[in-house]
């Protein structure tokens, strides 16, 4: 019995250690300490911007997450612009002027991206309209054709069945 309790205790300790490790793990960033701006407010703006800019080498990572050289270059250049006094909007424009809207992980809402933004809602609305139309039409008795009259054979069978129940 004693060894069983010991085992349970050990297990619990292991589990606690795991919980501590998981909670202590911070998300990994590719930003190197030597790239960071001295002003913490400017640095946090740079982080915020970097999260929305696509790394053009890895494509589905932001420049903040990516270890690629080009991502590092863009992080540095974004920080230079901020340090020079650019607003967030100016920094974003600086990068978009060179790499196009593609560099934004969240595409802008404009004429050429209308389908991208509104397409899913349009499809959903269309589907809902179809379903509603379908069920309206199937309302009880609405358009059901009258049942066909019984054939001679069926009449006969019905008569015999009725007779049986009368008995």
């Amino acid at each position: 019995m004693k060894w069983l309790m010991m085992l349970a205790l050990k297990r619990r300790a292991g589990f606690a250690a795991l919980v501590v490790l998981v909670l202590a793990a911070a998300p990994a960033f590719a930003v190197n300490p030597d790239e960071m701006l001295k002003d913490p407010a400017q640095e946090s703006r740079a982080r915020e911007l970097g999260r929305d800019l696509r790394c053009l080498v890895c494509q589905n990572q932001s420049i903040d997450d990516s270890d690629a050289d080009l991502a590092k270059d863009l992080r540095i250049i974004v920080r230079e612009r901020i340090h020079a006094g650019d607003s967030d909007e100016q920094v974003r424009k600086f990068v978009v002027d060179r790499y196009g809207d593609y560099v934004l992980l969240k595409p802008p809402f404009k004429a050429t991206t209308l389908v991208l933004w509104l397409g899913p809602f349009a499809l959903f609305a269309g589907a809902v309209a179809l379903i509603i139309g379908f069920y309206r039409r199937r309302r009880p008795g609405a358009e059901l054709p009258p049942p066909a009259p019984l054939s001679a054979e069926e009449q006969k069978r019905l008569a015999t069945l009725l007779k049986e129940t009368e008995r």
Binding site: Q59, D69, L70, K72, I77, V96, R98, G100
Partner: protein
């Protein structure tokens, strides 16, 4: 009417499927450049060591004639594949090729040219963080830009220039611009 409605989902699916099929054949690395028909970015890049003080590359060197700007680096593997062909283009004398040694140790960049041949008229060094390359919207090496007489970027090619790319795509554009 009813029939058309039941067919609608099939039609919508068909249209979407066509788009997705087309998407499968596209290369996600080929991002269309926003710089087409825009002037070459302002730059004044230092020359490569051993190539002479006058071989530096700046914006004005790209005006007055049609030229090809090629981004390379001694670390770039695909550049080795493309390079003999650039040397051949230089020999043909069709247009001057200007190089940008991107994110590179200039000493290594110069040694690389001695080893693989030097097709460039001028070479500018663009050390990290590669400001000139970012101004060109470069996403990797090699990349090449066709610049017209007015100094406007007219075409961007991503990846190595192969004989096929040259004869089918680049040369016709260059000849049109040289008219």
């Amino acid at each position: 009417m009813r029939r058309a409605l039941t067919l609608l989902p099939v039609i919508v699916f068909g249209i979407l499927a066509l788009f997705f099929l087309k998407g499968l054949t596209l290369n996600p690395r080929e991002i269309p450049s926003v710089l087409i028909n825009r002037p070459v970015p302002e730059m004044a890049l230092a020359p490569l060591p051993g190539r002479g003080e006058n071989s530096s590359l700046s914006t004005n060197d790209l005006k007055g004639r049609v030229s090809l700007v090629n981004i390379y680096g001694s670390w770039c593997i695909a550049c080795v594949q493309e390079h003999p062909y650039l040397v051949e283009i230089k020999k043909s004398g069709i247009l001057p090729i200007q190089g940008i040694d991107w994110r590179d140790d200039p000493v290594l960049g110069a040694a690389w040219l001695r080893k693989h041949g030097d097709p460039y008229e001028r070479v500018g060094v663009d050390p990290p963080p590669g400001r000139a390359a970012v101004d060109f919207g470069v996403t990797g090496a090699p990349e090449s830009f066709i610049v017209d007489r007015a100094g406007l970027i007219r075409y961007k090619h991503i990846g190595p220039i192969t004989p096929e790319v040259w004869s089918k795509t680049l040369l016709p554009i260059i000849q049109e611009l040289q008219k």
